[in-house]
């Protein structure tokens, strides 16, 4: 077990092991998404107030959860890279940023499309929506900063610090609907207490949440492999790999 993790830390073995995981992850993730969509679009009943428009939730809510989750992973990986100078953690951190930005964008856009018929507006500047928009800018800032510095290791350190500072926004997003009154409603699914949602609606929501987590794992591995190749382009194993792919 220990040897496995040690191997995972070496770029060559990481590239190989990640490569062998990718097809499996893709298959499981794809099947889960199809199952979740079937449950959400066909099996789940219509909502008593929102009609069928609530079905946007099966994308919106998992995306919003992922936008927070990926940010925490990115900042934690960045911190590990800073403290222990672990190259792979730097790679994971920077590979996470575009995926996190994608999910934040999806949460914002699908929320907006949901808001128009339900609330009566595409957008309001309440605490929840504003803090989620700041999260998108944080992700874009991390990506821009990494791209602006030529030396990859310096770039990784600078972006890690930006990511760590931005972590303060995460609890603000999460608790915004409780600390202040907002147009956005409070949480439905919480760790404590039974969720106030019908079980047939909850199942697709949770299936999609797991599928999105796997999707993140899949894409972060794919991106990390490219980043590892780029960084190790002068190493012998990469030269051999290029000769005989």
């Amino acid at each position: 077990m220990l040897r496995f993790f040690h191997q995972l830390g070496s770029p060559k073995h990481f590239y190989r092991i990640a490569g062998s995981w990718i097809p499996w992850l893709a298959a499981v993730c794809g099947l889960l998404m199809l199952y979740g969509l079937y449950q959400g679009m066909v099996v789940a009943p219509t909502d008593y107030q929102q009609g069928d428009s609530y079905r946007i939730m099966f994308i919106h809510v998992p995306s919003a959860w992922m936008s927070l989750f990926i940010y925490v992973v990115m900042a934690a990986a960045g911190a590990i890279g800073l403290i222990w100078h672990m190259k792979l953690a730097e790679v994971i951190a920077i590979s996470s940023a575009p995926i996190g930005a994608s999910f934040t964008f999806l949460a914002l856009v699908t929320g907006s499309i949901w808001g128009k018929p339900m609330w009566g507006t595409w957008w309001v500047w309440d605490a929840r929506l504003t803090s989620e928009l700041i999260l998108l800018f944080l992700y874009l800032g991390v990506m821009a900063l990494y791209g602006a510095i030529d030396d990859k290791r310096t770039a990784a350190r600078a972006t890690a610090i930006l990511a760590i500072v931005g972590v303060v926004n995460i609890p603000i997003i999460h608790y915004s609907v409780e600390w202040w009154n907002t147009l956005h409603q409070g949480p439905t699914v919480t760790k404590f207490g039974a969720p106030s949602i019908d079980i047939r609606m909850l199942i697709p929501l949770l299936v999609m949440a797991v599928a999105f987590k796997l999707f993140y794992l899949l894409v972060v591995l794919m991106r990390a492999r490219v980043e590892v190749l780029e960084r190790e382009r002068n190493a012998r194993w990469v030269r051999e790999l290029v000769e005989a792919p």
């Binding site: 008593y48 107030q49 929102q50 609330w119 009566g120 610090i161 500072v165 147009l183 106030s196 019908d198």
Partner: protein, 154 residues
């Protein structure tokens, strides 16, 4: 852990705490500005601005929604279960607008205490259920209420 690593770890913890404290102080200072709307109680207590527009949020009181004579303006009351404020609004109401629903209106307070809205947004709750479950819940609630009334009457 090596000394250099420890130093870096403490430095990061210091940054996180520093930024966290600064953010908490700033958010606390701007607390009122981060509130999206005023409640009817705050409006009744005179805490809402009287000279410029603001947002007012609350539940639409049952049986209060009326069309005014011109046929375009809707008049209804919003409540926070403590105080109630009347709202007049001319325009299209969102799909979720109905009695008992949470709404947020943007507009100005008229001298006679009526809130004249130029925008009404519906705030949907965190409950999701099919219509038949909602109907069953409502029926069992009403049954519970009548039973309680009968018991207290006997």
């Amino acid at each position: 852990m090596k000394a250099a690593r420890k130093k870096r770890l403490y430095l990061i913890l210091l940054i996180v705490t520093g930024v966290g404290v600064a953010a908490a102080l700033a958010l606390n200072a701007f607390n009122q500005n981060l509130m999206f709307f005023y409640s009817p109680s705050e409006v009744s207590a005179g805490k809402a601005p009287s000279d410029y527009p603001f947002r007012l949020g609350g539940l639409v009181t049952d049986g209060s929604v009326k069309r005014l004579a011109n046929g375009l303006t809707t008049r209804f009351d919003v409540t926070d279960m403590d105080k109630t404020v009347s709202i007049e609004y001319t325009g299209i109401l969102p799909d979720l607008f109905r009695e008992g629903q949470g709404i947020v209106a943007h507009g100005k307070l008229r001298p006679d205490g009526v809130f004249v809205a130029d925008e009404v947004l519906a705030k949907h709750d965190e409950k999701y259920m099919p219509p038949e479950v909602a109907a069953a819940l409502k029926a069992s609630h009403e049954k519970g209420v009548t039973e309680a009334a009968r018991e207290s009457g006997s």
